[in-house]
């Protein structure tokens, strides 16, 4: 659980804190891979508008799927499909091969 907690977002971290307590969390999370922000900005701008909207609204403010779905006028399942596609496009654009 200690390893996994390092991967959680703030919200997920909060949920786990509630469930397992502070002592289960690692005091020093592993460093994240570095991001080339200039390149990522170009990659995000290259996405289709709905893909861009989904990733920005998902990752900034961590909006719920239902809210994003309402904004786009699609189902929550469609939001996940769009997000999945956008993530792979961004990884390709950023040259992530892992």
């Amino acid at each position: 659980m200690m390893v996994l907690n390092q991967h959680r977002s703030t919200r997920r971290r909060g949920q786990l804190l509630e469930q397992f307590g502070v002592e289960m969390l690692s005091p020093s999370p592993a460093p994240r891979p570095r991001v080339d922000y200039e390149r990522l900005t170009k990659c995000v701008q290259r996405l289709k508008e709905r893909e861009r909207a989904v990733v920005t609204h998902s990752f900034y403010g961590e909006e719920e799927g239902a809210d994003i779905a309402r904004f786009l006028g699609v189902s929550e399942a469609n939001v996940r499909v769009i997000r999945h596609r956008a993530i792979h496009l961004l990884r390709d654009c950023m040259g992530v091969t892992r």
Binding site: V3, H7, F59, R80
Partner: protein, 198 residues
Amino acid sequence: MSGEIHFDAGTLTEYWLGTLPKPEEELIEEHLFACDECSARLDEAIALAQGVSQIARGGALMTVVSESFLKDAADEGLRVRQYSPPAGGSVACTVTAEDDLLVGRLAASLLGAKQVDLSLCAPTGEEQFRLRDIPFDASADSVLWQQSITFAKAAPTSTMVARLIQVDEAGVEKLLVEYTFNHTRTLPGPGAWTDLTP
């Protein structure tokens, strides 16, 4: 199991966001304990997501945003500069060094529209950029267009026309409404875009 099954970045991102059904989440969680490859991929996915978040809050993107996005930004203490030109009208605008986000609130009724594009044009009408198939709430009374704050801070005094264009299933376009933004530069810099071509 860990040596045979791997999860892609999209699925791992959903896991990180906490959107997966409990059984799938537990399966991934168990897998991550034993699989360095998927753990590394999850790290990459999180770095990408956090990078997108940073870019979104930095205001550099030209995109369409929701009311809740603006509320999150305001709650976070970001300085959001908004302009609300009337449909068919114009507005005088600028941007300062302290502004974080720049948003045009485009008043429009989009009831019945299936696809709407946002076209950004020179005052002569020549299209410079187009956001195709923008998200919109047909019941709302406006579209929130975020202009890149990076672009706006560098822009000389100039005029830009934003057009909302309805596109039907056959691809036929119909201009719904347009708005004129008369930008005055208040930050130090050149009076016009510098031509760097040799």
